[in-house]
Amino acid sequence: MNDEWRDTFLAYARLPEHGAKVEQSWVEIAKALTARCYVSYSGGKDSTALLHLVLQQSPRILVVHWDYGPGFMPREIEHEIVQNAMAMGAVNLEIYTSEQYQAGRPDWAVFAPEFIGRVVPRLKARGYQRAFVGLRAEESCRRKRRIKRHETIVMDECWPLATWSWMDVWAYIVANGLPYLNHYDKVAELQGSYRSVRLCTLFDPQFAHLGSLDNFVYWRWRNT
């Protein structure tokens, strides 16, 4: 991240509006922790900020991560995701994946039946009652609607970042010196902004409508 963006985020982090959102999230997390919780951690910027917030109140909380397999998430990025979680202090990290990725199945045919259909019910059976998820209303109309209606799947969910903007997320990450994926700097350098930089599975047709720079940025892994 260049100095210009870093200074911008640091200045934003000093705004009382940002402080109020962090405070509100802190209170929501404290309330949610009355039940047995885990954190859903994808490795993206939102879940990085979320994980740091939750770990401060519950250092030994279970951190659940879904590995999309080498076809959708190259191992270099996957290792970076795991290392970032550990650098933030996650000690109770569980990584799940599916062998179906090896068979070349598309992610949309694997993630929902495997993670939501298999992993989450098992966590529920182990006594977990609530999941922290880094969902934000700003991300899409669908998510905004989901937050408004509090639509959850299988497990009750808590969304401490629901009202955060992309600036809030980056301000929190920079102000707290959190490790984040190199992916964001690479894509932000091309786009000239951190605004619409997001992490999703690479070369994935289901995200084609969001615009993809994967062929250019990740040409090394295009044909693996």
């Binding site: 669908r142 894509v187 091309l190 786009q191 000239g192 619409s196 409508h209 969001l210 615009g211 993809s212 720079l213 062929n215 250019f216 040409w219 090394r220 295009r222 044909n223 693996t224």
Partner: protein, 215 residues
């Protein structure tokens, strides 16, 4: 006319957009040959259509099977991204609910990478006359040409002393299969001949820009 080392320079009226890390000269030549022989509105998009191999070999020299054609070299090594947003225009439609998440009216964000340079050069070993004749069909280079990206203003082919189409000063100028290299800095699975989108053309290659010594 005999095949000679060439430098092909395109002056652009608008920057070139890329849908991959590089733009390949042999890909352009292959496409132009294919385009002349086929109806672009009727083709199988899943499998490559065979092109006139003889014409391709006459135009571009093959060295141990590798086309002597480099990737594009831009004036500046500066890349930027741009996003186009395609949204339906509900004001122009009849009243009622419209699904913009999927289907015909789905909203899209189209991202593309461009290099702001207005000059791109390629190195080749081939027939100048045949290339000039073939490039007469070329109006644009790169991706998203329907929006005007990569509009060609003029093209010039110069004969040069050295053949820099495959290697220049020990650096790969195009994807080179590792079988053809004696020593190399790194290798990745890449397409090494046109069409570059076809999976059957992918093999372990020394990427453009990496140090390499050919056998």
């Amino acid at each position: 006319m005999k095949a000679k080392p060439l430098k092909i320079t395109f002056d652009l009226a608008f920057p070139l957009m890329l849908n991959h890390r590089w733009i390949h000269l042999d890909g352009i030549v292959g496409h132009l040959i294919w385009h002349r022989a086929n109806d672009p509105n009727r083709f199988d998009s899943k499998a490559p259509t065979p092109i006139d191999e003889k014409q391709f070999k006459r135009t571009i020299t093959l060295k141990d099977g590798i086309p002597c054609a480099s990737v594009g070299v831009f004036e500046e090594d500066d890349y930027r991204a741009v996003n186009y947003v395609k949204r339906p225009e509900p004001d122009l439609m009849s009243k009622g609910k419209l699904d913009i998440a999927s289907g015909y009216f789905r909203a899209w964000r189209l991202a593309g990478v461009y290099n702001p340079s207005l000059r791109v050069a390629f190195y080749a070993h081939g027939r100048k006359d045949l290339l000039e004749e073939l490039f007469a069909d070329l109006t644009h280079l790169g991706d998203n040409i329907r929006m005007g990206w990569g509009l060609v203003k003029q093209m010039q082919i110069d004969q040069i002393d050295h053949d820099w189409s495959i290697v220049r000063d020990g650096v790969a100028m195009r994807p080179i299969p590792v079988e053809a290299a004696r020593e190399y800095e790194c290798a990745y699975p890449l397409a090494w001949k046109p069409p570059f989108w076809a999976a059957q053309n992918v093999t372990m290659c020394v990427p453009p820009g990496a140090r390499v010594k050919l056998k």
